[in-house]
Symmetry: C2
Subunit: 180 residues, 2 copies
């Protein structure tokens, strides 16, 4: 399936609502649970998505669209949210994520990107040369990856409760060494 | 985290809304795409969840609660939905899933299950003796597993589009041999 800007934007617009339906009001024991040391809880995943809105996808698109001689991205801090969101509630993060996402998609639409602009390059600090099209595709896949991760970390809290069902529920044993 | 009937019911009530937000109105190219031969698309996942409402979780709970001498479950057909839903739209399946789930949760709540009832046994055709508590826990984990699977199958459609980002987006290479 090729990248389609309108379809990609449409999917990015869905994530805050889907996560709100899944998570809003869930008990803290579920929201704060992880897959093990140094892994993200559902709460952390939402914080990480907010970091992406503030420091990753659209800021990097701006660098590409500025067409400077060295369109190098700032490194991305995967752990910024830990300090940023201490003391916050998940519901307030979900609201903030929805607002930030809506503003970023309004910016994306306002650019009315052409095919030629989608081919413009940026320089990723670890991955090297990437295009704006690849950046926007990665934004979509990144969203979906964190939806999957949130569902997985919630499911794993029931691994002892399902008893003999474990082998029939692969989500419970995915990522025995989490890669998140 | 121990099983809590109210929390489990609360999470089960969220799945139709979350999947509606994520999937309703997405283009067919995305909805019908799979991870490879004999794997489920997003459409198939919703059909499979409907099969669970009609033939798995609550029907099996009924068998347990009947307290008969042989509380043996009917085998579950993981592919019933292929024939059942031929020609259907995803939106109509999402609506049907929401209605079936709401009715099943109304039944679950109406039972007002006690701790002693949650310990009652059933006989799974492959897994042997299971309790009602384990059955209901598996229902929750099964939902979350299919939310994760849906997000993963959607994400994988962008594996070529993200270019150099693949190693940073583990969802794109999860389940190289799908276990769904």
């Amino acid at each position: 399936m090729g990248f389609d800007l309108e379809q990609a934007t449409g999917l990015l617009a869905r994530t805050p609502g889907a996560l709100g339906e899944l998570l809003s009001g869930l008990p803290d024991a579920w929201i704060r649970a992880t897959e093990g040391p140094k892994t993200f809880s559902a709460f952390d995943n939402v914080g990480h998505l907010i970091d992406g809105e503030e420091t990753d996808w659209i800021p990097r698109a701006r660098i590409i669209l500025a067409r400077g001689p060295e369109p190098r991205f700032e490194p991305y801090d995967r752990f910024r949210h830990y300090a940023r969101n201490a003391g916050r509630s998940l519901d307030s993060l979900l609201d903030e994520f929805a607002l930030l996402r809506a503003a970023n998609l309004a910016q994306l639409r306002a650019w009315r990107l052409t095919e030629a602009e989608l081919d413009l390059p940026g320089e990723h600090p670890a991955l090297g040369r990437v295009t704006l099209r690849q950046l926007l595709s990665a934004w979509v896949a990144h969203d979906l990856g964190h939806v999957a991760q949130i569902a997985r970390v919630l499911a794993k809290q029931y691994v002892a409760e399902v008893g003999p069902w474990v082998p029939f529920l692969p989500v419970l044993t995915d990522h025995p060494v989490p890669r998140s």
